[in-house]
């Protein structure tokens, strides 16, 4: 390639070397260092004046450092009068955050796009963006390459030919249906779809059905207080709210009557304002108690159920509490949802566990989430007076539930061996430390641990009986949802074998170890777009990495020579 320089960041040197050798060029010299204060510094080791500069940097486990590195390299090249700067990011960092998933969510993918553009990138080459709409985040051209042809060829040669029986491509959630049908069409196989129906109450920001007294809305005047009033009006027996509570309650003997004592407790604690310190200590104590309870599988399921019912309880009850306090606002419901999530640390844990398996974007590591979710609980000062009251009510209910669990539920309880969380995980929750401080592979977990406590209902739409299943998604990080799906397919649906297929394999923490010991997964097939440490790849017998460097190299070559890239969307470059 004349007048072109290929630079590589430190995120994925192995891939960069492969791309360079495919192109028949040397990687251009660059020195990337850290100052002692952890700032990144870049020194391009050759002239780039009037050259086409290609900078290869994939996302990695130290995402922010490597992103910053890429940005500084782009900026350096720009300042050094490069003619055109192309950033090659096989795995685009923050691509999972491509839309406002919840209220007040950030679109960080867009932010990264803007940062790249601002730093001076003229062109971006990436691969299998989580949502193809992301190319619209940029104001510069984006080439979104596909790994599908490469994967499809490998699968045709190695799985389809080898499998004496039929092959079926399966999506583990509805969001992946399009991807799955596309690969199925290409391979000429059938497809199926797994749907995990998480109970609405377990989704922290679910779009719940319109239960609360909206039917009474027209009668109440517009203005402050209408929703709180509406809720109050709806609580009597026979109302839709009551029905919905009865219908969704996981435990039949928890109904409004159970909630009422908690409410009274709240009312009692309200007048006597204790000092904040005592309260904080109290909530800490509760938190520790809950963590311990989690370690004990006997209580665990119950605590979880309590947390769920508690969430529901505080959701519906608290507008009344608020109404006693001060003039309720139309935001009463919003407010106390937040308050409720601040109130109980137990709730947070269950939230995290559920969220890790949530429908669409479930591969973000749970331990990272923990830190974020924990933060509000660490700041009781900022929590409103109401939330304290709710916390008390919550604690009351929780305590009741625990007592009952200990006294009555023993025979039906889950065996201790299948503790749903390893000691290490609990340690992490209690201490609040980060995953990176953990050893790379956790002590082996009981195989059943991912699903024992799941209350969700799994449905398979389609037929996999006696077939080899390719469980497809665009990326795999924490594998719990894949493993749950694989188990369901093998045990309940009669699948012959399950192979996990993904474009990007992130495998944070103990992911590969968990796949290794899962008896339901035969292989996990990913490309090498994302760097996986050598010790993990060699330790894993199930991992198969397919080289994607030829596609990237061909895209760079075609870009440089002004040829069409679309050729690569359907075909293999070699």
């Amino acid at each position: 390639m004349r007048n072109a320089k290929l630079f590589a960041g430190t995120s994925h040197l192995a891939l960069a070397q492969r791309v360079a050798s495919q192109l028949g060029v040397e990687l251009a010299p660059v020195s990337l260092r850290r100052y002692t204060n952890r700032e990144t510094t870049v020194d391009l080791g050759c002239s780039v004046r009037d050259k086409d500069v290609y900078i290869l940097q994939s996302g990695s486990m130290s995402t922010n450092d490597h992103l910053m590195e890429a940005l500084i390299m782009v900026s350096a090249a720009k300042l050094a009068s490069a003619r055109k700067i192309t950033v090659v990011m096989p795995y685009f960092p923050y691509s999972k955050q491509s839309k406002k998933k919840k209220r007040r969510g950030a679109i960080s993918g867009k932010l990264v796009a803007s940062m790249l553009t601002v730093s001076g990138a003229d062109h971006v080459i990436t691969m299998d963006l989580h949502a193809s709409q992301m190319s619209g985040f940029f104001s510069v051209p984006v080439d979104n390459l596909f790994s599908e042809p490469t994967l499809a060829r490998w699968l045709t040669e190695n799985v389809l030919k080898g499998a004496g029986n039929e092959v079926v491509v399966v999506a583990k959630n509805a969001g992946g249906a399009k991807r799955v049908t596309s690969l199925a069409d290409r391979l000429g196989t059938s497809f199926a779809l797994i749907h995990t129906d998480n109970a609405p109450s377990t989704r922290p920001f679910s779009r719940t059905p319109s239960t609360v007294a909206l039917h009474t809305l027209p009668q109440t005047p517009r203005g402050p207080g209408m929703f709180a009033n509406a809720v109050n009006a709806a609580i009597p027996v026979g109302s839709p709210l009551r029905e919905s509570i009865d219908r969704t309650a996981s435990d039949p003997d928890l109904d409004l009557r159970t909630i009422v004592p908690g409410q009274q407790a709240a009312a009692e604690t309200k007048p006597g304002l204790r000092s904040k310190k005592t309260k904080r200590r109290k909530s800490r104590a509760h938190k520790d108690a809950d963590a311990n309870a989690n370690a004990d599988a006997d209580v665990d399921a119950d605590v979880d159920a309590a947390a769920e019912s508690l969430k529901r309880a505080s959701f519906y009850v608290s507008p009344q509490i608020l109404a006693d306090e001060h003039p309720p606002t139309p935001e009463a419901l919003d407010l106390d949802l937040t308050a409720a999530s601040c109130a109980s640390p137990c709730l947070e844990i269950s939230e995290v566990l559920n969220r890790s398996d949530d429908d669409d974007d479930d591969d973000i590591d749970t331990s990272n989430l923990l830190e974020m979710v924990n933060t509000p609980a660490e700041e009781p000062e900022s929590a409103e007076h109401n939330s304290e009251a709710i916390a008390q009510a919550a604690a009351g209910i929780l305590e009741q539930r625990k007592q009952r669990a200990l006294s009555s539920c023993r025979p039906a309880a889950v065996p201790v061996e299948s503790a749903p969380m390893t000691p290490a995980a609990i340690q992490r929750i209690t201490s609040g430390t980060h995953l990176q401080n953990d050893p790379p592979v956790r002590p082996p977990v009981a195989v059943t641990s991912w699903h024992k406590k799941r209350t969700a209902r799994i449905t398979l739409v389609g037929d996999v009986r006696g077939k080899t299943v390719l469980l497809l998604d665009d990326m795999i990080d924490h594998p719990s949802s894949f493993l749950t799906a694989a188990e369901h397919l093998m045990v309940h649906c009669g699948a012959n074998a399950v192979c996990i297929v993904a474009a990007h394999g992130l495998f944070s923490g103990s992911s590969l170890g968990e796949i290794e010991i899962c008896p339901y997964v035969q292989n996990v097939i990913v490309t090498n777009s994302f760097p996986i440490p050598d010790e993990l790849t060699t330790a894993s017998t199930k991992l198969i990495q397919i080289d994607i460097a030829p596609v990237l190299a061909e895209a760079i070559r075609r870009n440089h020579n002004g040829e069409s890239i679309s050729y690569l969307f359907d075909r293999n470059p070699y």
Binding site: D185, L214, L333
Partner: protein
């Protein structure tokens, strides 16, 4: 200081919806004339002061879509230059929303272009409904409130479809599977999926139904229905597979081309659309059409935006 009250402006795209919204907010539409010069240029006159006011401009992406987009841009710009404090574009149906990615080589991302145009014209805030892809929110540098028709749809199903407890929610393509599962979850129903196998580009060769619809009421859900070819074929497939009746519920009913003929001649029992796009005339020609009114959701979003209250409540709850 001036009162800084809500001002509702409307273009020519959907005056009925604008009137409904204004009525719900207890105000009148501002006095605005939007017409055309003889050379077909759009002319806008704003008949009253908007200085320091909170301006909401309602314009849906439908009919003469480019004219209406141009009207909206000129209205925004006119308000900007007339010193409005804040300008919110309310687009019940976002124009060009389907061109949101490079699905083919060299395809434009026109939705991004529209986003840029709105921003450049001077919109400070955008309110829209059921974007074809939520990622379009990221095309803007401004806040975008993407409202959902789903709560209204859920209520419609509960109240207007007899025997809905024996229903199954069906997505007419793989891309809509998520929408279908979400509705199915909330109603505690099963769901199924129809996939169009494309042997060649632009040629629907075969429809594959995944899931069991035998003796059930099938409810097709989608975000947009244009020529209704897919819906017609899907209904046929469902009936062939033993469904007892087929309903279709669609948020944005574009219903262009020969859509009405297709619906009339199809096996669909009823086609339900929201009023993000006007279809009063079409309803006379097609008795199978039914309407869900979403003006309340839009009005409530405007009220909450104006008062600085949270809009997210509306994501999960239908307002009347």
């Amino acid at each position: 200081m001036s009162s800084n009250s809500i001002r509702i402006l409307a273009g020519n795209s959907h005056p009925a919806l604008a009137k409904l919204i204004a009525k719900r907010l207890g105000t009148d539409l501002a006095n605005v004339t939007v017409s055309k010069y003889s050379n077909q240029e759009t002319a806008v006159t704003i008949g009253e002061s908007v200085r320091d006011e909170d301006v909401y401009i309602i314009q849906s992406g439908c009919g003469e879509i480019n004219d209406h987009l141009m009207e909206l841009l000129i209205l925004i710009n006119a308000c900007k230059t007339a010193s409005a404090r804040r300008i919110t574009a309310v687009l019940p149906c976002f124009p060009y929303a389907r061109q949101d990615k490079k699905d083919k080589s060299r395809a434009p991302i026109s939705a991004k272009l529209v986003a840029n145009m709105l921003t450049v014209a001077g919109a400070d805030h955008v309110i829209t409904m059921d974007l074809h892809a939520s990622q379009i929110q990221g095309f803007f540098d401004r806040p975008v409130d993407n409202l959902y028709g789903e709560p209204s749809v859920l209520r419609y199903i509960r109240e207007n479809i007899p025997d809905w407890k024996n229903a199954i929610i069906v997505s007419p393509d793989a891309g809509g599977a998520k929408r279908a599962t979400s509705i199915a979850d909330h109603l505690d129903l099963d769901f199924a999926l129809i996939h169009k196998e494309r042997k060649k580009a632009n040629e629907v060769s075969r429809m594959v139904l995944v899931g069991d619809v035998k003796e059930k009421v099938a409810i097709l859900v989608d975000d947009m229905a244009d020529t209704c070819g897919t819906l017609g074929l899907a209904a046929k497939t469902l009936m062939e597979n033993g469904a007892s009746a087929v309903y279709a519920i669609v948020i944005h009913g574009v219903l262009s081309g020969k859509a009405l003929d297709v619906i009339n001649n199809s096996m669909l029992t009823r086609v339900v659309v929201t009023n993000t796009i006007p279809h009063a005339e079409k309803k006379k020609l097609c008795p199978k059409l039914d309407t869900i009114d979403v003006s309340a959701v839009l009005a409530e979003a405007i009220r909450r935006t104006h008062n600085g209250e949270s809009v997210s409540y509306l994501f999960g709850h239908a307002t009347i």
